[in-house]
């Protein structure tokens, strides 16, 4: 582990292990007493070379590969890829397929936000809230399983459409599940905006101004909590979003509390739009359209809104049945590099909450270490210990 010594300062390496995230990171924090004075990030501990691998597989095979870029937001990766292939081939999936893509995407957003909410509560030392939110998350996991057959990697998309239809029994199950979740979400919004103990960990912590968010290129709920109007579903509607729009959820304070509120309020938008699609007007028609096996030379850019923010795909075809180049830019890289700068000037005890505030799935990190160089004493801290330190600090 790389440790550097500056005059009277300690460098604290955090990471790199967090198996739940596709991008485990190693963070090196330099501290002066309790205050963080600089921070840097090193990624790639589970770099699997997917961008290279797609160049050696066919368009159809790549669907299954790219869906596995991320375990939490798998559907949105497959959606971005399918939309891209359809664009390159000059075909459009039928409206019914696009609406079903939107339903699954929003269910995925619900499960992802609730997962994050539980993890964030855990990092704050509020384990009751963590257990309640994950219990409630099972509702949406069951809905996704009932709809697609899988709890993760739903495999709802095929090139040119979707694999399955939503019948009325499934729609009813989803609608009643949403009623339960909505009731619970009201409770959670109440907790994060009124619970004084929780607010001490979130209010005024990790503030990112609108200008910082713009300059540092933050995306998704992290940017929206700082007042940046950036939501691809609204700006450049894809799949079913022009037919069934969502409205943008914003906040202006830019602190951790705002990031909590934006994500929780987004859940209400997801409930509303899923209800609208399922109750009124799932458009009639086919589920798929034909996509050619070979795709002519072409290139395109696809942007979609993953639960964590803008997901960017650049795709280039070369006339064969394999892609020439696919570039995947995930939202976490944008937010990771912007938020890591926000830790500067904060208490060491705030670091877990600031990092978890961008939703990088930090909970499984267990190789944190504090190494004290100046006296020659080496001291290793696990992530668990740093988390506990943060909780004790605010007790």
């Amino acid at each position: 582990m790389n440790t550097t010594q500056q005059a009277e300062r300690f460098t604290i390496p955090i990471g790199p292990q967090h198996p739940a995230l596709k991008e485990p990171g190693h963070f090196a924090l330099t501290v002066d007493g309790e205050i963080v004075t600089s921070a840097s990030v090193r990624l790639g501990y589970v770099h699997r070379g997917i961008e290279k691998a797609v160049e050696e597989r066919t368009w159809v095979q790549n669907l299954y590969l790219l869906e596995r870029v991320c375990g939490i937001c798998s559907h949105i990766h497959a959606t971005a890829y399918c939309l891209g292939v359809e664009q390159l081939a000059g075909v459009t999936a039928p409206p019914r397929a696009q609406a079903i893509r939107e339903v699954v995407a929003e269910l995925e957003r619900i499960h992802s936000h609730m997962l994050w909410f539980g993890v964030a509560a855990h990092e704050a030392g509020f384990d009751t809230l963590f257990m309640y939110s994950w219990r409630d998350r099972e509702t949406v996991m069951n809905l996704l399983e009932g709809l697609t057959g899988n709890r993760v990697n739903y495999s709802a998309n095929v090139l040119g459409g979707v694999k399955f239809d939503i019948d009325s029994a499934q729609a009813d199950a989803i609608l009643s599940g949403l009623d339960f979740l909505e009731k619970r979400t009201h409770h959670y919004l109440d907790v994060v905006s009124t619970d004084l103990v929780f607010l001490r960990r979130t209010r005024g912590i990790g503030v990112m101004t609108r200008q910082q968010a713009e300059v540092l290129g933050a995306v998704g709920p992290t940017a929206r909590a700082s007042g940046v109007e950036r939501d691809i579903r609204v700006e450049a509607p894809y799949a079913g979003y022009s037919e069934y729009p969502v409205s943008i959820v914003m906040d202006t304070t830019g602190d951790l509390e705002a990031r909590f509120e934006v994500r929780i309020k987004e859940l209400f938008e997801s409930y509303r739009v899923i209800r609208r699609i399922l109750r009124d007007t799932l458009p009639p028609g086919d589920l798929t359209t034909r996509v050619p096996r070979r795709i002519k030379e072409n290139e395109t850019v696809i942007r979609v809104e993953a639960p964590r923010g803008e997901l960017f795909y650049f795709m280039k075809s070369n006339g064969t049945d394999m892609p020439e180049r696919i570039r995947v830019r995930t939202p976490t890289i944008c937010n990771m590099t912007s938020v890591i700068r926000l830790t500067v000037g904060h208490q060491l005890a705030d670091v877990p909450m600031i990092l978890v505030g961008i939703d990088p799935c930090f909970s499984c990190n267990d190789r944190t270490a504090v190494i004290q160089d100046s006296c020659g004493n080496r001291q290793h801290w696990t992530w668990e210990k740093l988390r506990q330190y943060g909780i004790e600090f605010y007790r």
Binding site: S40, R42, L43, G44, H47, G49, E51, K52, Q87, E214, V215, L216, G217, E235, A236, E299, T300, V301, R303, E310, F312, F314, K316, E324, R325, R327, R329, I333, C334, T337, S338
Partner: protein, 163 residues
């Protein structure tokens, strides 16, 4: 600003510095830059007019025959995607760093340089971002002529079980 107005403004700005400008898709402006200076000028202009943010940098290996790499800078402004592209020879590939003007460019540039071996001139932190510390020097995985054997030789070692 609506899509047409953004597209119009972007086309005007890009064509000032590009040798070739085209609207390749209904929401995309694409400009080919001849030199590093033109690229930097175009980037500065987008920054000054506050048009879009840097969404990604894509490297493409155009192949041994073409003998060039292409580097694409994607800026997003609402629904419009502005792509500035520049070509650089395979023998001595290099592009200028945007990190001084756009701090968020740094991780993309680090990725570009480790994956393609394109030198990013003036980058504040040239260290690797994704590839492991023991990755062999001079092996760039996203190049089309990347050979896996180069990797196996270097990395097939006995694990040290003593420590």
């Amino acid at each position: 600003m609506n899509t047409e107005a953004t597209l119009h403004l972007a086309t005007k700005m890009v064509s000032e510095w590009a040798t070739e400008t085209q609207v390749s898709e209904p929401n995309r402006v694409d400009g080919l830059m001849a030199t590093s200076e033109d690229l930097l000028n175009a980037v500065m202009m987008l920054r000054v007019k506050r048009l879009g943010y840097l969404a990604a940098i894509t490297g493409i290996d155009l192949g041994l025959e073409a003998g060039e790499f292409e580097v694409l800078y994607h800026f997003c402004a609402g629904p419009v995607v502005i792509t500035l592209r520049i070509r650089t020879p395979r023998e001595t590939p290099s592009v200028p760093s945007l990190s001084h003007y756009i701090p968020s460019a740094e991780p993309f540039e680090r990725e570009l340089s480790e994956m393609f071996g394109v030198a990013v001139v003036g980058i504040p932190n040239p260290e690797r971002l994704y590839l492991p510390d023991d990755w062999p020097e001079g092996v760039y995985p996203l190049r089309k002529d990347f050979e896996r054997s180069a990797l196996n030789e270097e990395r097939d070692h006995e694990y040290d079980t003593t420590g």
